[in-house]
Amino acid sequence: MTKSNLAIESRQLARSFKTKAGPVDAVKGVDFDVSDGEIVGLLGPNGAGKTTTLRMLTTLLTPSRGTALVAGADLITHSREVRRRIGYVAQIGAVPAPGTRLGEELITQARLQGMNKAAATDRLKALLPTLDLSGFEGRTLAEMSGGQRRRFDVALGLMHDPKLVFLDEPTTGLDPQSRANLWEHIRSLRDNHGVTIVLTTHYLDEADALADRLLVMDDGQIVADDTPEALKARVSGDVITVSVDGDLALAAKVAGEALAPRTNVVDGNKLVLTVERGDTAVPPLLRALDSAGLRLKSVQVHRPTLDDVFLTLTGRSLREDADG
């Protein structure tokens, strides 16, 4: 390990893919640091480059350009050392083949990580209860529910007690209860074991609840790097969401003239405005829309969420893509 207290230093990390339709620049040279003991969320819509970034940092994918120091080891020249020090939970995969059993798979994983049989067995006993998987050792993976399998995936990444863990959409497919439990577990990994965590998510509430810091990704680039609070503060003021019976583009124009809002974005079937003060902005907005002949269907005033942050940063909503 180097003296630095940085778990990750990514420098111009980039990856492009050759496809039949031409080259795809999945990640376009990202720079970021992650400190020891931090929980960092990688947030972005489908295809933003989150998985590609994680796969590069975990040595699974060779970067086209750039490099990174991961857990103190150079990603390119000391990839094996990196592997020794990290845990990785991949994005959800296909249903496992019959004949693979949970306990055996976890022990196989631990042994490949260099643990001996006894240590792996002990670790299995200790880890399963924390992920609500007690008694599942003998279960065939193909016979488990999606959520149970997801928790098994998480266990795979934690068997060898790594100090730096990458989780790619860890809570996708979990029910609210399991989701809350996993959040709890992730927090305790950091709080009680000093584990550094990098996770990707589509869920704003997850990013908001879990992450100390967020890297917002869009189209292969990091468009923002800040705490959830600071990001929300960027969208200072209030957010007004309006839906009308009629032309939204016209509504946007009318609203723009009436309020001079800070941002003014058409998002699906809604118009999203950010203004200094929502309460005083609504009456003139209503009058303006009315006189333009646009019948109002609904209007909402709320404090900005990360979704609004994403919308103002990229002009696109995150939520639209979330289930895509």
Partner: protein, 252 residues
């Protein structure tokens, strides 16, 4: 953790899965018997190229062994495509385990499987009339295993390169079938017209088939066996070397 332990861990994982698949166990073990029972009887009524009479099994069984090895090892990579989708390959690659162990553990499971099938086939052929030189038969199975090792390793790497069953299956068919037909596996190449025999001489498998047949006959200390064993070991090393290099690069 040494590379041997890592290979062992992967090997055991693969074997467990195989043994737990009753369909595989049934067909994997009955297939050699089917060949003997359903194709063997035809041999009685042909003559030429050394066929006909009780000696024909010394020609036929070595061919079957080769076929078993080529198809068994050739299609080994099928499984890794599913493992790619499940994320098994990635989760193993993200460990510090040696890349060589990841591919060799799998390959060894195929070698052992093919070895067991080969022994079974040879034993079952006895009641049909096979009377081989036993030392030779034993060495033959070792030769079959060495060949399987190279081919299975190459098959796994091809699976990782093609990443899709729909291209992998025709690829393997397309490569193995001409290799088999041009090696005189089914009938000796002495029956072939000259041009076909010439083509078969550039097929490394021809030498392996000749070797296994010579071994079954008992010509153990022959030039054929020496040449064939060299070709087998050479081909196996070449394939395994290419496979592990590509595998390593694909999963740098």
């Amino acid at each position: 953790m040494t590379i041997v332990t890592e290979t062992w861990v992967i090997f055991i994982r693969q074997m467990r899965q195989l043994v737990r698949n009753p369909v595989w166990v049934f067909f994997g073990l009955t297939q050699p018997i089917l060949y003997l029972a359903l194709f063997g009887p035809l041999l009685k009524n042909i003559s030429g190229g050394g066929l006909g009479g009780s000696d024909s099994y010394k020609i036929f069984v070595p061919g079957l062994l080769l076929q078993l090895a080529i198809f068994g090892a050739g299609f080994a990579g099928f499984g890794i495509i599913q493992e790619l989708r499940e994320g098994v390959v990635d989760r193993q690659r993200v460990t510090p385990a040696s890349r060589l162990a990841l591919i060799m553990g799998r390959t060894m499971s195929n070698v052992v499987t093919i070895g067991v099938q080969a022994i079974l086939l040879t034993l079952v052929a006895i009641p049909f009339g096979l009377r081989p030189n036993w030392g030779g038969a034993f060495v033959s199975i070792a030769v079959i295993c060495v060949l399987s090792l190279g081919m299975a390793a190459a098959s796994y790497t091809m699976g990782l390169i093609l990443r899709d069953e729909d291209s992998f299956a025709p690829f393997v068919q397309g490569v193995t079938l001409p290799l088999l037909l041009l090696s005189g596996v089914l009938l000796p190449m002495t029956l072939a017209p000259t041009w076909l025999r010439r083509v078969s001489q550039v097929n490394p498998l021809s030498y392996v088939v000749d070797t296994v047949r010579a071994l079954f006959r008992g010509d153990i200390a022959s030039v054929t066996v020496a040449k064939g064993s060299l070709v087998t070991v050479g081909v196996a090393i070449l394939l395994a070397w290419w496979a592990t290099r590509r595998f390593q690069r694909n999963s740098a």
